[in-house]
């Protein structure tokens, strides 16, 4: 077999390992399902009435935003998993095997794609139950779903880096949820940007989450897309281009300190 074939085989073996973990750690499953569902219900039934979204039902406005947010955090399993591997010494075992070294990273991020698909199914099902409607062409919906998976994949690499840089799974949790989580709120995900104070608007406007959420709205609701979809894809590729090499670098450094 060639190096590439080995690389693919190693990646698949480790992606499977990453996926086997999910049903065996029910708390992870809660993070994937119950938490986003609760968020949808909270925003639709608690905050929704107080948020004015001219031109949209709030549920239609909300769903693309909240789906982008949850897909972004889907990669969190990778941060926890890598951090755990480091702590428990498993990283040493993998690094002493003749496998493709980066397969530990590509395997985990690939595993995330599968869990993200599962998460999208859950989110869209809940969305449709609480009254969300697609109002765009079929191929736009498909394109939107693919874009979401790509966004999720990009953030898996961000989380891979966080997991390798953090000193413990708890620290990884703190980086992810105390820094990245609030950033997703300063965007068009939950409220229209023009309802924010004027000093905050430019920040929210240029937040990549805003671009991604607006792109998702364009593809699911048929709103004018402008450059949003292309910009969202550009951001996604930039994130992968920065964080994939950064994670591999960090992985090697963790390894050969």
């Amino acid at each position: 077999m060639t190096a590439l074939a080995y690389g693919i085989s190693d990646t698949l073996v480790l992606a499977k390992r990453s996926l086997l973990r999910i049903p065996r750690q029910p708390d992870l499953l809660v993070g994937f399902t119950v938490q986003p569902i609760l968020f949808v219900l909270l925003f639709v039934y608690v905050f929704g009435g107080a948020i004015s979204t001219p031109g949209f039902d709030y549920v239609d406005f909300l769903m693309p935003g909240i789906i982008v947010q949850s897909i972004v955090f889907g990669g969190f399993v990778t941060a926890l998993g890598l951090s755990d591997d480091l702590k428990k010494g498993l990283m040493d075992r993998f690094r002493s095997l003749p496998m493709t070294r980066s397969a530990l990273l590509t395997g985990r991020t690939l595993g995330d794609v599968v869990t993200n698909i599962f998460q999208l199914v859950v989110m869209f099902t809940v969305g449709l139950l609480v009254g969300f409607n697609f109002s765009s062409a079929f191929w736009e919906v498909v394109g939107g779903i693919l874009m979401l998976l790509l966004i999720g994949y990009a953030f898996s690499w961000v989380f891979a880096f966080i997991g390798l840089a953090a000193s413990s799974p708890e620290a990884a949790n703190a980086y992810g949820f105390t820094i990245l989580f609030p950033v997703t709120f300063v965007s068009s995900a939950f409220v229209p940007v023009d309802s924010m104070p004027s000093w905050l608007q430019p920040i929210a406007e240029h937040n990549p989450f805003t671009v991604m959420v607006d792109a998702a709205r364009a593809l699911f609701l048929g709103t004018p897309a402008g450059n949003d979809v292309w910009l969202a894809l550009l951001w996604t590729f930039i994130i992968i281009a920065v964080f994939a090499p950064l994670s591999v670098w960090r992985y090697r450094r963790v390894v050969t300190r």
């Binding site: 073996v13 973990r21 750690q25 040493d92 002493s96 003749p98």
Partner: protein, 322 residues
Amino acid sequence: MPADPAVETAGLHKRYGDVHALRGIDLRVDTGSVFGLLGPNGAGKTTAVRILTTLLQPDEGTAHVAGLDVVRDAKKVRQQIGLAGQYAAVDENLTGFENLQMVGRLYHLGRRVARARARELLADFDLSDAADRLVRTYSGGMRRRLDLAAALVARPPVLFLDEPTTGLDIRSRIGLWDAMEALVAGGTTVLLTTQYLDEADRLADRIAVIDQGLVIAEGTPNELKSQVGGDRLDIHLCDGGRGEEAISALASIASDRPFVEDGSILVPVAQRRGTIADAVRRLDDAGIAIDDISVRTPTLDDVFLNLTGHAAEAEAEEVESR
């Protein structure tokens, strides 16, 4: 000429910031032998193993495993080695079987071969009944056995065991020793690190004692023990004032000059068998009453006191790079 060594290092140095973990280590492990690296926490044992298993790069010096340079041919080295260690690096969220199968696949064994090998090793390590249970339900001893099994999946010619029994109860330790002895009988070269003299004594053909990043003694277990002083009779008399009389009564069974320490008379002896009976008879003949008598075997503390002049526990924590 002996066969090519399975492991050979020359002048290995490694620093972590200000800590000089290895300060020029030279080792030679013959193919098919068991080599014990003995030392306290922080001596540099783990660092040496991490370099030999390609997890770390040395700052200076060279290391070869199975004739391959661990830096330049790292990937080839990884095909020749197995690593098991004190951290029982197995995935808690997989079953025992899944762990071994995964490792087999990552050694690039075929799907069927990996499955068959996993079953075979589970049977060898007495884990067949627990094969399909998640590892997080395993006891400490079972995890170590699985960890050792994982290191053997590809039948590597050179095996590195980093403190394989640290923290285990005595029954599990003996179980692991039996497993390791079986391996060695099969011709595998083993480099073993340990803090326990009895472990090195039982398993190793040769031992290197390392302390503060340097090899301070090397030899067979017997050579080392005799360097430390071998077995000693430890005698407490009812009347402490008759020490000199007792020493002269025992002079003929002592292998070296007896001496008094903390009120005990310590008599170096060449062999354990019959020694106590012999000593009791001689003291009885001389009319000297014994309060307590025992044979003491040198401990790691004795080795360290003897070789370095400081006790093993006084060392700083091992510098870990994890």
